[in-house]
């Protein structure tokens, strides 16, 4: 708990992590640090991963 508390305090405060509308700016910055090709591959990997999780859940 003590390990996580400072992080939570940082993101909940006026840290610039969120836009006024609640958008998570840290994820946008993470994506903008990548090349378009890396973004494409992250998207494909993420989509495949989610589909795989859906399949695993359906098999239970």
């Amino acid at each position: 708990m003590s390990d996580h508390a400072p992080l939570l305090t940082a993101v909940e405060g006026d840290s610039g992590a969120y836009a006024e509308d609640g958008t998570d700016l840290t994820l946008i910055h993470w994506m903008l640090d990548m090349t378009p090709g890396e973004r494409l591959d992250v998207l494909t990997s993420g989509a495949r991963s989610l589909l795989s999780l859906r399949r695993d859940d359906a098999l239970r």
Binding site: A19, D21, G22, T23, D24, L25, L27, I28, H29, W30, M31, L32, M34, T35, P36, G37, E38, R39, L40, D41, V42, L43, T44, G46, A47, R48, L50, L51, S52, R55, A58, L59
Partner: protein, 167 residues
């Protein structure tokens, strides 16, 4: 049960290799601009020139494209489907592909061309992608709830991109 295939890179390479002129729009274009979202289909707006539609139709047949039909019928897209102005929501061997013959308020490949950019996607692949400010305009013009819901994230992505450019 097998996991459905999704390979955006392979799908883009296939369309490129077959000499098809198209513009990437929708969720994949948003991701290529840096929006942190997940999507499962590739949306393209093809050039409406007859030779291009011939090439696209051949490619779709080779990709075993069928409509994502709610009634689960195996309907193959025809050449005349591509000549219309509608949306062909397809499943292919490389993943879902939406062929949008026109988009919001009748915009076509030709009208989107000046509002698009060729992006280097690495590995020798490049693709023409609608500009982020135009994608936002398309979402606004479409006016559907799901499009409006995507706007804040796209607008923040555009803002952050401009901040970086301005340094």
């Amino acid at each position: 049960m097998t996991t459905p295939s999704v390979d955006f890179r392979a799908l883009l390479e296939r369309l490129r290799d077959d000499g098809i002129d198209f513009i990437v729009v929708g969720g994949v274009s948003a991701v290529l601009h840096g929006a942190p979202i997940v999507t499962f289909d590739l949306d393209i707006v093809p050039s409406r020139s007859p030779p291009n539609l011939d090439r696209l139709h051949s490619a779709l047949l080779e990709l075993e494209a069928i409509f994502r039909d709610p009634a689960a019928r195996k309907l193959t897209p025809t050449r005349s489907d591509l000549a219309g102005m509608g949306h062909l929501l397809l499943r292919t061997s490389l993943g879902p592909l939406d062929v949008l013959c026109s988009v919001a308020e009748g915009r076509t490949h030709e009208s989107l061309l000046p509002k698009s950019t060729i992006m280097d996607l690495g590995g020798g692949l490049s693709a023409r992608v609608v500009d982020l400010d135009e994608l936002i305009a398309l979402k606004r013009a479409a006016g559907r709830e799901k499009d409006r819901a995507a706007l804040p994230l796209l607008e923040r992505t555009l803002e952050e991109t401009r901040k970086r450019r301005e340094g």
